[in-house]
Symmetry: none
DNA sequence: GTGGTCTAGACCACC
DNA sequence: GTGGTCTAGACCACG
């Protein structure tokens, strides 16, 4: 379920965070779904439990999951989790367009490129 | 001339690299232009010469500049340095669109967003 | 394991790079082998960790090793690392033969010399 | 007449030295030929006269040319200048073969490669 | 403990 | 003066 690249320069915990966000955005994980325990996730992707723990903490602090002590971690009841993930994407679009502007690439050029290729 | 954010989490040397790429892409730096010496750039942005040296080495290895020992560093004679920078941008667009696809955001959605905002 | 000549005019970091290439070419280091940490190698050959770091970076950028931050450096899974090293040797043969041609030494002459001496 | 690559990592003075050795080895420059003055050579290849001066000093110390104060520099009367250049080439062959041995490339392999390509 | 980045300074070859 | 290399340290993120 989780796609982790241990060799990547992106920290593993960030990859874990992003994976869960993706599953939420796609609707695979929905409100009150239980996600695997820290230990199980750690075993599944062969990383240190501390790393998974850190990822879960971040997901919790960002409102994606809630923790019930002794029970486990669950997807939050926020209805707009999806749009929250989208917002992050849009933020990256903004950054990219900002850089384009700096080097005189017009938004039309980017749009044309996307239309052509995707 | 160079915009460096010493507090950014992006390494200073990468920022230096990007700054020169931007200047090249904008046509401000052209073929055979001499860029400031390692020491001068270091002084200008108040960082250690080694950091600038690292940036220049990367620019050289990527073909943006050439080095004449004892003389200085010069913009390379590749005619398409500009398109080279653009390629890097397009690569980032590709990555972004790839992630969009993963979470079911259509390219139309992105295009609409860009059209609206930029 | 590593043969370094601190007095040589060849930079230490290049010697380190070459040493690892040699160990790979000889099959002593194979896929996914862990190589000593930056600090350990530095201690072993009595040089500054930065020097070793530089060598490892080059090996990584040339595809010989991959780095897992916080874990260490490992021999890459490219099956033909050996032939990669050979290619470098052949490139040098090409250069040498090119110079021979410039001063009218025939390839036969070189071959005869090699046969005689090696 | 001289082929100099100002961008090369090989010091310019070494390139000058090698160029004259090449011209001698090819028989283009023969005993008692006058070679261009330091200034003329410097002008021709657009480098600092000091650099040419250094090259001439080396050529003189290695016995390739002799200097007559106020007159200029001349090719030496050593009959075996050619074989001297060849010796240097052979030395490089030796080095290369040494490295081949270290990584288990046989001399036969090298010979086969040369026969094929040259 | 591991690599990644950076500083402060040094010495060298080259020009 | 210029880049190339190196040392001796330091701090940080990651696991």
């Amino acid at each position: 379920m989780l796609q982790i690249d241990l060799k990547s320069r992106i920290p593993i915990y960030e990859q874990i965070v992003y994976n869960f966000k993706r599953l939420i955005a796609k609707g695979i994980l929905v409100e009150n779904d239980k996600i695997p325990s820290v230990r199980d996730t750690a075993k599944e992707i062969s990383v240190n439990p501390n790393t998974v723990q850190k990822a879960y903490k971040i997901l919790e602090s960002e409102g994606y999951i809630y923790t019930v002590a002794g029970k486990g971690n669950f997807i939050n009841n926020v209805d707009d989790l999806k749009s929250k993930v989208k917002e992050e994407i849009y933020l990256r679009v903004d950054q990219l367009m900002g850089e384009c502007k700096k080097i005189d690439i017009s938004s039309n050029e980017i749009i044309k490129y996307i239309k052509n290729k995707f």
